[in-house]
């Protein structure tokens, strides 16, 4: 009888552990608020990496390319705004930060923390998503769930058409307006 009890306990342990793991993950997945952030494709030649779509966050109000951290990103960012719209994002620098976003250091991926991310996509939807991400007339928005402790979980990618103002702004970045020719002085 003793051996049977021992076997029962040894069988119950993994079942209990796996069940608990599932329950805990499920509860934690329901916590937090949903926000939206615009994203753009990371590498137009290869937006898919295996089952993941890679993208780069376009945090409003934050420009990584001009900051000293540059490519490496930052470990903590501060969101300002009311969910789901982000008004402004800044790098956490000691000031009180009610809505932090923390980088997931255990999954660094190809880019620095919080510079880019990736979303698991099913095979059937992958081709369509890749096409839409590469389409310059469409803007990709990522809905993500942000927990209290700053952990970010991507939920889904949605698309909407870019407005004329947005397209004009992008044109200016790509092709800066030519400087006016120097005035011809009549001599």
């Amino acid at each position: 009888m003793n051996a049977r009890l021992l076997l029962g306990a040894a069988l119950a342990l993994p079942l209990a552990g796996l069940g608990t793991s599932w329950a805990v993950t499920h509860v934690r997945a329901q916590q937090g608020t949903v926000w939206q952030v615009p994203v753009s494709g990371y590498d137009p030649r290869d937006l898919l990496q295996g089952h993941y779509v890679q993208y780069r966050y376009d945090w409003p109000g934050l420009d990584f390319t001009s900051s000293p951290e540059g490519f490496y990103g930052a470990p903590v960012l501060c969101l300002e705004g009311t969910a789901p719209r982000i008004a402004q994002v800044r790098v956490a620098d000691g000031r009180p930060c009610p809505v932090p976003v923390r980088a997931d250091l255990s999954d660094p991926g190809m880019m620095g923390p919080l510079v880019g991310g990736r979303l698991y996509v099913p095979q059937t939807a992958a081709a369509g998503l890749e096409q839409k991400l590469a389409n310059p007339a469409q803007k990709a928005i990522l809905r993500f769930r942000l927990r209290e402790d700053g952990h970010l979980t991507p939920l889904e990618l949605t698309f909407r058409a870019k407005s004329a103002a947005e397209r004009a702004a992008e044109e200016r970045l790509v092709r800066p307006p030519e400087p006016a020719p120097p005035p011809v002085r009549a001599n």
């Binding site: 021992l6 076997l7 069988l11 069940g19 255990s106 999954d107 660094p108 698991y120 979980t153």
Partner: protein, 385 residues
Amino acid sequence: MSTRKIARWEAEGLIDAATAARLTAWEDAHSRPLALWATIGIGVLAIGLGIVSVVAANWDAIPGTVRLAVHFGLLLAFAGALWWRGEEWSARQPWVQDGALFVLGLLGLTFFGHIGQVYQTTSPLWQPLALWLALFAPLILLRGQSWLTAALIFVLAAMACLDWAVWSEPSWFGAPREPRPAFPLGLVAALPLLFAPLGAWLRERSGRSDFWRRLEQLARAYALGGASLIAIAAGIDAIGDNNDEMFARGALVAIAMVGLGAAALVAALRRSASGRAGALVLAASALAVMLALVVSGSQLGGGIVFLALWAAVAAAALAGGWRRVFQIAVGVLALRLIILSFELASNLLTSGAGLILAGVLIVGVALVAVRVSRKFAPVAADVAP
């Protein structure tokens, strides 16, 4: 079995007519409809493949919670089968029980991955592996009976340790990472070696001696493989104090210490020739790691340490009466000698005379190895390594 053979035996005079009649009658009564079984088997296989295919194609259409529930249901089913029929299987059909244990373990492992897929979570590899070990090790150590479950638990334990110590170092281009101290890395990487004294201790005290013997063998193979790799790496690159790398001084010292400790325990627990031989292999691996530290950076030094290690393995095989291990050790020694000679005199290959010399060397070493192997190998004894 066709009755043609019976007719032939009767024709050859091996059996008489009465026996032939009795054999034919018995065969007719016990004939198995193999063709029917084969056809049914093909049908069942098709159904199985079809189910897998339908599930795979509609994987994403099935809600995540439903998928996880079905997965968990399968786990419950296998656990239940082990609970009700476990005793009966272990007495009469131990393979069935081991197979069920193996499938249960794999289902548990994939459950972690499945959760990650449904809830979009990620984690470094060693975390789910360590959790799996904590949950499933008691069951497998309690009930495992063959190499299948022994290999499952050892490989996953080794992967968890190596992943934490070596593979998962968070890094991204250029950003500074804090270096981890080397000594704990070495300790964790050497943890699977402790299966050797565990196996040595329980092998005679438990009814499932095959399982514990396999665990001890796997731990020895891990020690030998790791020490050989370190000896090779020492020949290529100097081992420094750079604490970012696996092959840092502190890590190797830790590995050697654990190895020597395991060897001492094995020698104390199994006081037979075979036990002492096993301890010798572990001790030789640990010493090879220490020597690799000393000679690191020197190609000749690395080669000599490797050759000394495998010579010790051959000696241990002689002492323990392990025929196959002895032959493998001689083969490895011959191969390394040949490679070493090419490393040291690499310009041998650039001239015709040099090529002839190299060929003669290879043939000579191979012939000597075969003769030594045949002449000195211990007789295939009934001592299990």
